[in-house]
């Protein structure tokens, strides 16, 4: 028996498994972060209620599966547009008048909104933990002996598709160009004929839709309860800073990076400190490259 070979092989296996797990999970984190970063890029606000948008997406997928039997991955086409509309409404009726009052006030306003949404969900849906079990997803696939959970793999593929769609939207369409222009400089954009207020509303809707879509994709792999937003939002912050506030590719890279750091950190360093590693990395990036690891963010 080639003990050395087996030893090396299992070490490789552990490494490969860690990397695969990290990338898959990280891609979903990334999707959540993209929504937050777009909103910041265009409107310069950090939406503390973003985690609750994800949570609402998760609940949407859960109910449409449990009550109507719709596969969650298919239900993205229902919930993303629905939450897009919802996001626009929130902007139009709630946020629009608060934003002029300053960044701090807007931030706290979204904090209040976050409390409100999480507790409304708690009240109506009760705090029971729920998971969504897909019959075809019970055991993972095992290519090359690496466990790849099926729902996570599907989510990964769909996340890529959605992100590609976003890229096309931002680069090829008029709306996308307007969004990018507003992100660069709202005053100039206005001068060029862009209806900045409308773009703000659309952007917020888009951010919300992305969050909800991420939630829908996540729910078969995670668990669901009304206050799950709290944990997700903190991870989101770390990611958008790593990637650069306002940068979409940065958020994606940041998400995958965080997933990898947590995964490898847990396996090779210490499980107890894996979150700390993320935060320390976060601080280091803030200090030495505040525009993000990839240098594309704006301050």
């Amino acid at each position: 028996m080639n003990w050395a070979g087996i030893f090396l092989e299992s070490k490789m296996e552990i490494f490969a498994q860690s990397v695969v797990s990290g990338v898959l999970t990280g891609s979903l984190y990334a999707m959540i972060a993209v929504g937050l970063t777009i909103v910041f890029g265009v409107m310069r606000i950090i939406n503390l209620a973003h985690g609750e948008m994800v949570m609402l997406g998760m609940f949407g997928a859960y109910w449409s599966y449990t009550l109507l039997g719709i596969d969650p991955f298919l239900s993205v086409v229902i919930w993303a547009p629905a939450m897009f509309a919802g996001g626009m409404l929130i902007h139009r009726f709630l946020l629009k008048d608060v934003i002029p009052k300053g960044e701090l006030n807007t931030l706290l306003y979204t904090a209040g909104l976050s409390l409100l949404l999480a507790n409304l969900a708690l009240f109506f849906f009760t705090g029971d933990y729920r998971t969504l079990n897909l019959p075809y997803a019970l055991m993972p696939a095992r290519p090359f002996g690496i466990a790849v959970p099926i729902p996570l793999a599907i989510a990964f593929v769909m996340a890529i598709a959605i992100t590609l769609g976003l890229y096309l939207l931002l680069s090829r369409t008029d709306v996308g160009r307007a969004i990018r222009a507003t992100a660069q400089n709202p005053q100039s954009a206005a001068l060029m004929g862009v209806n900045v207020l409308r773009i703000d509303m659309i952007t917020f809707g888009l951010g919300t839709a992305l969050a909800a879509a991420a939630g829908v994709l996540l729910v078969p792999s995670l668990y669901l309860y009304p206050t799950v937003g709290e944990i997700l939002i903190v991870k989101c912050f770390v990611i958008v800073v790593l990637g650069g506030l306002g940068s979409v590719p940065g958020a994606i890279a940041g998400g995958i990076l965080l997933g990898l750091v947590e995964s490898l950190g847990a396996v090779y360093v210490s499980v107890a400190y894996k979150d700390t590693i993320g935060f320390v990395l976060f601080l280091l990036v803030l200090l030495f490259r505040p525009s993000g690891l990839f240098g594309v963010g704006r301050s």
């Binding site: 709630l94 300053g102 960044e103 006030n105 706290l108 306003y109 904090a111 209040g112 506030l245």
Partner: protein, 315 residues
């Protein structure tokens, strides 16, 4: 008129704990004072200097753990322990400030959040020092006498006065700073940091001083927390929710005002109690709603708006 209010306020603080023998009301009073204390110290940095910190709980935790550890392992008197709590808070503020003040705006805020989380995780995992998640418990407070009378720690009255004393100190400090040159520098930093630099103000030093003062007071508050609640664990004293609540208090009351935090604390503590009583399930829904309404319609804070109205009516 202002001076009259202040004297009346102090007189009330001196007399109020004795007016009622209802321990619950004394507790409410202590909580209002405690939150005023926290709001006022956050205000020093956040309101006056415009540096929005979401991690002030770091100093609360440092103060609490310092006092607890000194008391439990060295039997240090609580008075000294409190002072130590404040001092350690201020000491930690120095490196934290030097690190975080390189950043502006939202980056600064997020950095402070990260610092608080790291502090929490360290307290949670460094068990040899902090006992980790098990936490630290005080079973008996030491015999302390003032003017020949031993303090009865079982009663809330000594805590009322202690809290009142700390709060008056914090407010006095805020007032003194607002009237001093430091205060002027802080305002300059808040309004336009680049111009402030341009006219020769050392903005880093100014901000670090503000942070150190703020951290000192929050450290004292942390020590008070440890002595009053007698039990601390990392999640209780380093929580993000504590940091956010401090910001709420300062903002709801009125940023950059001396009296704002009092109003903020009174309103928020009372509201919490009422909501919890009236709407047992889902009271946080109304709390969130309340926050949103205040920020939308009273962005300058309740006291801020009152001040405006008073000025307008006075013509």
């Amino acid at each position: 008129m202002n001076r009259l209010l202040v004297v009346a306020g102090i007189a009330f603080l001196l007399v109020a704990p004795l007016l009622t023998s209802n321990a619950f009301f004394q507790h409410l009073m202590i909580m209002v004072l405690f939150w005023t204390l926290l709001g006022a110290s956050w205000n020093l940095l956040g309101g006056f200097a415009g540096q929005v910190s979401f991690g002030h709980a770091t100093f609360l935790g440092i103060g609490a753990y310092t006092t607890m550890l000194f008391y439990l392992s060295l039997q240090l008197s609580p008075w000294l322990g409190m002072l130590a709590g404040g001092v350690f808070g201020a000491l930690f503020a120095l490196p934290i400030g030097l690190i975080c003040f390189r950043l502006r705006g939202p980056y600064f805020s997020l950095a402070t959040l990260a610092v608080a989380e790291i502090a929490r995780l360290v307290a949670l995992n460094w068990e040899q020092l902090t006992a980790g998640p098990v936490g630290l418990l005080i079973t008996t407070l030491p015999q302390v006498s003032i003017a020949g009378h031993a303090i009865n720690w079982e009663s809330k009255i000594p805590f009322c006065y202690l809290a009142a004393g700390l709060t008056l100190f914090a407010m006095g400090l805020t007032y003194a700073v607002s009237r001093s040159r430091l205060g002027a520098y802080l305002t300059a930093v808040r309004e336009d940091i680049d111009s402030a630099e341009a006219i020769g103000i050392d903005t880093v030093r100014t901000r670090v001083i503000a942070l150190a003062l703020s951290a000192f007071v929050v450290g004292l508050a942390g020590s008070f927390y440890a002595l009053y609640f007698r039990y601390i664990d990392p999640d209780a004293v380093f929580a993000i929710s504590l940091s956010v609540e401090m910001v709420f208090i300062a903002v709801v009351g009125g940023l950059a005002t001396t009296a704002g935090p009092i109003v903020g604390a009174i309103v928020l503590v009372t509201i919490s109690e009422i909501f919890r009583d009236r709407f047992a399930a889902g009271h946080l829904i109304f709390y969130g709603l309340f926050m949103m309404l205040v920020i939308r319609y009273l962005p300058e804070g309740i006291w801020g708006r009152l001040r405006l109205l008073l000025r307008l009516t006075r013509g």
